[in-house]
């Protein structure tokens, strides 16, 4: 290996350096360092953005919160406005990795890495977050759903980078649900995960949003289930109906962590748990 390393000091420098063939962005390194060591990735130049101040800010802006791509999970968890305004994000990130991983790993790295198990994507999908993409001509925003295109793939083009994520502040009346099933509680990659925002009205479900991880090529929203459940009262009959349409929403595979059948079962059970335990 004969990589070069550059600590990036400004956005302009980053744009310029990204023009070089073989340049790869490095942030917390929790994915990248392992990939390099396993020989899965070779970089001519590593562009370290982890100290780039413009990408490390959290700010509130017109009904939204913008989080810079290089903000670490620990910073997000500790930030008071996030705990107050988008608690579902804190709830999910507390389950991500370990203290050490949360101290280094960033939200931008998690999204660009685009793993089917990316825990930060679940709350962000529920919140209809947008990815803010920077390019030399300016910036473009795309829904997170469209930003992620396949395992390890995003819509980022050559010369572009993810500058942050824009999260609309949700209704504070939503009840929150995030549950991740893995081999153990701590430091585990999800076998399957389910997140939800739910609001009840007059004994019926007024609004429900559902998203799941590790059960499709990417973390996904479960729209057919959302449509089925909206406006309905929770009955054993409804839970059965909901379980029956799960195969329309997800496409799990069998891998070293679990079988596809097990994943169908887990999503069904988590959904039942959600519906049976949600307060009116």
């Amino acid at each position: 290996m004969d990589e070069q390393y550059v600590k990036i000091g400004s956005v302009e420098e980053l744009f310029q350096s990204l023009q070089n063939p073989g340049a790869v962005i490095l942030c917390g390194g929790t994915d990248l360092v392992l990939k390099m060591r396993k020989g899965l990735l070779s970089a001519k130049t590593l562009l370290d953005i982890s100290d780039l101040d413009q990408l490390r800010e959290i700010r509130q802006k017109c009904g939204c919160i913008e989080i810079g791509a290089a903000v670490t999970f620990s910073q997000i968890i500790e930030e008071a406005i996030i705990g107050e305004q988008i608690p579902i994000l804190v709830m999910a990130l507390r389950k991500l990795g370990s203290t050490q991983i949360r101290n280094r790993g960033t939200i931008g790295g998690n999204l660009v890495n685009a793993s089917p198990a990316a825990d930060s994507a679940i709350p962000l999908l529920l919140l209809d977050a947008e990815a803010i993409i920077a390019n030399p001509a300016g910036e473009r925003r795309v829904q997170l759903e469209d930003f992620l295109c396949g395992p390890g793939k995003t819509v980022l083009k050559q010369g572009e980078f993810l500058s942050g994520i824009r999260v609309p502040i949700p209704d504070p009346d939503f009840s929150l649900f995030f549950h991740k099933v893995g081999r153990r509680k701590a430091l585990t990659i999800a076998i399957a995960s389910l997140g939800a925002l739910l609001r009840m009205k007059d004994d019926a479900i007024d609004e429900i949003r559902l998203a799941a991880g590790s059960v499709a090529p990417l973390p996904i929203r479960l729209y057919p289930l959302e449509t089925l459940l909206a406006g309905r009262r929770v009955t054993p009959q409804l839970i059965k109906q909901a379980r029956n349409i799960i195969p329309q929403c997800i496409s799990p595979i069998t891998d070293l962590r679990a079988t596809a059948d097990y994943r169908y079962q887990v999503i069904g059970d988590l959904l039942a748990r959600l519906l049976l335990t949600m307060p009116n």
């Binding site: 290996m1 390393y5 600590k7 929790t30 360092v33 392992l34 370290d48 990795g97 370990s98 050490q100």
Partner: protein, 170 residues
């Protein structure tokens, strides 16, 4: 390339390659072998050190990334001001021990000892921020550290005791 950082209070200027891990810089180049390599993949926490007061896995950090930062390793902990000689367990020993180290020894939280530096660094990072943690907070702070010997209960006891020692209680 040359990088400059503070290691356990001392300024260091050293030549590193871009792909060198912080763990290798510490162990191989700077001969600070208290920091251990277990898995090399962020799973076991044996390589835990503090960068600017936060616990991180030194096996996942590239050496050039610590340019300009402040690092603390297990070797530096004993030199911190609260350190005392290890009273009850080892009377004759003159070298200083940090209260967390003393607590781990006195509570029997060390067996083979391979995981111990990592656990102690994670404990230190926790107690810096939260001098009086609940058991739940202790377990959350240590979730990135594995121990194959102790069964964890003694470690939990040691951390509780260390917190008490550091708050000035006996």
């Amino acid at each position: 390339m040359k990088i400059r950082f503070t290691l356990n209070g001392k300024q260091i200027l050293v030549e590193v390659d871009a792909e060198t891990r912080l763990l290798d810089l510490l162990r191989e180049d700077l001969h600070h072998t208290g920091t251990k390599e277990g898995c090399g993949e962020g799973e076991c926490g044996a390589c835990t050190v503090l960068i600017d007061g936060r616990a991180v896995n030194s096996c996942l950090v590239l050496a050039p990334q610590v340019d300009g930062k402040e690092l603390l390793t297990i070797e530096g902990l004993a030199q911190l001001s609260q350190s005392v000689s290890l009273s009850s367990a080892d009377q004759g020993h003159k070298c200083g021990f940090h209260p967390i180290q003393r607590a781990f020894v006195e509570k029997g939280a060390v067996q083979c000892g391979f995981c111990t530096p990592g656990f102690i660094m994670s404990t230190y990072a926790l107690l810096l921020k939260n001098p009086d943690p609940t058991d739940e907070q202790i377990l959350a702070a240590l979730e990135g550290n594995l121990c194959r010997c102790t069964g964890y209960l003694k470690i939990l006891e040691a951390v509780r005791y260390a917190a008490q020692l550091m708050r000035g209680g006996k």
